[in-house]
């Protein structure tokens, strides 16, 4: 509860100081000497303290894990103390970072959602990492999945380092599939695997939905709310298209591909009613594990929670394709901030290296469900053993082959808000897909035009 070593040190120090004051107090010279000693010792003792703002974007007691890993780092790196500050979810953490930077009191390190990179750059808040990376030697970067660096690079520099990375994946309840195997087989579908295409998705969802009179007791599929912007981007990728062209700052919401994707959503939620209207991001998992939904789109980061809570056999697959398999990546990267002492920046880099070694990245992946950013993790014996017992965890890593960087923009929070508002409206049946896309196009293009870095 209280036992932080630095606090103990402070107390000890206070006692020692008092003692010396008693001895020296009458002599003026003594007091000066004392003060000098105090200053010297205090500075030496102080060491470097780094403030680390981080989010937890999925269910689970991950703050404890971060605390534990950080404590290990602090213990093994005398002279550096990283103080992790849990800031809530991705949105809350970005707000805290923004507020801190604008108040000229930035944290030393932070993890923010990858789409916010451009916002950080527009605020001129972060340090490019190229020099640090170069100093590690040519082969350093080879350890890491290149797919994740798409969201860390801008203007030919590397501004962030991947840490908690994910892709959305497709979860399905194998027991419910077995229950409906006859109906599935009759429809020419395989009850032993997940739907592969959008068309199959509709058919599976129809069959798996159970109703009792007017009430739907089991939904075939959940398209979650909360991060439906991320999931929607995935659908565009599956349609061999995109939502924002970052090079040219062009929004692509008014394209036929986007309309097809959103029409699919509308059909599933409002017409066929095989997907519930708007479930919050966190409740989606509850619905799935309690058996109220047979399939769900969710982050790979939810997997440990699903495993611990579900009392049925579940499978994880790639997101169903349309023209191709496709998905954006997700998650957050480490950033080192400007306007902090160079010593702090160097120390921050040590922390980043520590947290992304094969061992640490493997551990983090096993506990959180995120993909390990370090490819070498997958060759470690503990990781191999873990994956043997939990093969579903391979899915996200394998899906990286079909992944794209997540779209980024300055002031992405606002864009996200516009998307979520409109997608929610469509999922609730309050807006037609055409109207929603038109409005998103107009408003988002305005934001793209307005801000740059």
């Amino acid at each position: 509860m209280f036992g932080r070593d630095d606090e103990k040190a402070e107390h000890l120090f206070g006692v020692a100081f008092y003692f010396f004051v008693e001895v020296f107090v009458l002599s003026k010279r003594g007091v000066i000497v004392l003060l000098l000693i105090f200053v010297v010792v205090a500075t030496a003792f102080a060491g470097i303290e780094l403030k680390f703002y981080y989010p937890v974007g999925v269910s689970g007691p991950l703050a404890r894990v971060i605390d534990g890993m950080t404590q290990e780092f602090n213990d093994s790196h005398p002279g550096i103390t990283v103080v992790p500050v849990y800031c809530g979810n991705y949105d809350d953490t970005m707000q805290k970072v923004q507020t801190a930077v604008m108040s000229k009191n930035p944290p030393d390190i932070a993890v923010v959602e990858i789409s916010e990179l451009y916002s950080l750059l527009a605020m001129d808040a972060i340090l490019p990492l190229d020099n640090y990376i170069a100093a590690e030697g040519e082969e350093f970067l080879d350890q890491f999945w290149p797919a994740f660096f798409g969201n860390a690079i801008a203007k030919d520099k590397i501004w962030g380092f991947p840490f908690q990375r994910s892709t959305p994946v497709f979860y399905y309840n194998k027991d419910l599939f077995k229950k409906h195997s006859k109906a599935l087989l009759d429809a020419g579908l395989d009850p032993n695997r997940a739907p592969r295409t959008w068309y199959e998705l509709i058919d599976y969802a129809r069959i798996l939905t159970e109703r009792k009179g007017n009430e739907t007791t089991v939904y075939g599929l959940i398209l979650p709310g909360g991060w439906n912007d991320w999931i929607f981007e995935a659908f565009l990728r599956q349609n061999d298209s995109f939502l924002i062209d970052q090079e040219n700052k062009k929004a692509n919401f008014d394209s036929p591909e986007a309309l097809q994707a959103l029409n699919l959503w509308y059909k599933l939620t409002t017409e066929l009613k095989v997907s519930p209207p708007l479930r919050p991001w966190n409740m989606t998992i509850t619905d799935f594990v309690s058996g109220n939904a047979a399939m769900m789109y969710y982050s790979t980061g939810g997997m440990p929670t699903v495993r611990s809570m579900a009392n049925f056999d579940f499978g994880v697959a790639f997101l169903p394709m349309h023209v191709t398999y496709g998905t954006p990546v997700g998650g957050g990267d480490f950033h080192i901030f400007k306007n902090i002492p160079k010593a702090n920046q160097d120390a921050a880099w040590e922390y980043i290296k520590f947290m992304t070694t094969p061992e640490k990245a493997a551990y983090w992946s096993m506990v959180s469900g995120y993909v390990s950013v370090n490819k070498d993790s997958y060759e470690l014996p503990e990781m191999i053993e873990f994956l043997d017992g939990f093969p579903q965890m391979w899915t996200a890593a394998n899906q990286l082959e079909f992944s794209y960087p997540k779209m980024m923009a300055v002031n992405y929070q606002q864009i996200r808000k516009i998307m979520v508002t409109n997608l929610d409206a469509v999922q609730l049946g309050n807006k037609t897909p055409q109207k929603a896309l038109q409005e998103m196009q107009k408003e988002i293009q305005a934001i793209l035009d307005r801000y740059s870095f």
């Binding site: 209280f2 007691p61 703050a63 979810n89």
Partner: protein, 276 residues
């Protein structure tokens, strides 16, 4: 005639019981669910207390976040606010109640206006002020905006006004100074009001959320409400049992305090002139 009265009496009781029980249901749920595991909760049958109460939920709560520290911080902040409020408000109420001076009305109106402007309306400037004073992320910062309580001044002024003039005259004859008079006469006689105000201040600031949210970020100074808020975001959707255990832990102190002091509180409340 008598039958009618008894029937209408029964109706009244029925109505009162119904509403009170409905009001109590949420708390009942918290208590019951805090001891359940998530499988039981998901099954939908969570209304009855568990036959095998799961104390593990509480263990998880305390392991996940330093709730005891949050509790201590909250206690420090809440009592700090109260003490400073009283220290500041009692003299002010005395001045308004017992002293005649130019500009008294105008200044009093300033205090009244303060009641109408909750902190929530003024968060942004207050944030900038406290931040530039270098007090970001301190326990003291969480107390400052609340100390000048127009509400407390108003209440105590009313209460002080009701003390008979004779007492004051007698005190003056006795050579009693202002402070002696306040401390030995006004305060004891205004005990119901002070008690009521104190309980309301404690209950209000135990509850503070937006201000601690924006003015602190580290665990060292975090208070219970923020701690719960953050905890919720982590665990949300996964384990309601654990969440309710945390909720119970946070609600219990004040409810227990109140239950213990209910007689005192109700008495003070009903006689203190809170009625308007």
């Amino acid at each position: 005639m008598r039958l009618k009265r008894r029937n209408s009496g029964l109706l009244k009781y029925f109505f009162l019981f119904a509403i009170t029980i409905i009001a109590i249901i949420p708390f009942y749920l918290v208590i019951v669910i805090a001891f359940k595991g998530s499988k039981e909760i998901f099954s939908g049958n969570y209304l009855l207390p568990s036959l095998t109460p799961r104390l593990e939920n509480f263990k998880i709560v305390f392991e996940s976040a330093p709730f005891v520290r949050y509790m201590i911080n909250t206690i420090i902040v809440v009592f700090g606010i109260l003490l400073m409020q009283l220290a500041v408000v009692i003299p002010a109420a005395y001045a308004f109640a017992r002293m005649k001076f130019r500009g008294a009305n105008f200044l009093f109106i300033l205090f009244i206006i303060q009641i109408m402007l909750p902190l929530e309306a003024l968060v942004v400037p207050n944030y900038q002020i406290v931040r530039s004073a270098g007090l970001y992320n301190t326990l003291i910062a969480m107390m400052l905006p609340f100390i000048g309580s127009g509400y407390g001044t108003f209440l105590l002024r009313q209460s002080f006004k009701q003390i008979p003039k004779d007492l004051e005259d007698a005190a003056i004859i006795d050579g009693c100074g202002h402070f002696r008079f306040i401390w030995n006469v006004l305060v004891p006689l205004s005990k119901p009001t002070i008690v009521t105000f104190s309980l309301i201040s404690i209950a209000t600031h135990w509850n503070d959320y937006i201000w601690p949210l924006i003015i602190t970020d580290s665990q060292k100074v975090r208070t219970l409400t923020i701690g719960l808020g953050m905890f919720v975001q982590q665990e949300s959707g996964a384990d309601w049992g654990v969440l309710m255990a945390a909720t119970l832990f946070i609600s219990l102190p004040i409810v227990l305090l109140f239950l213990a002091l209910q007689k005192t509180f109700l008495e003070s409340f009903l006689t203190s002139g809170m009625k308007g």
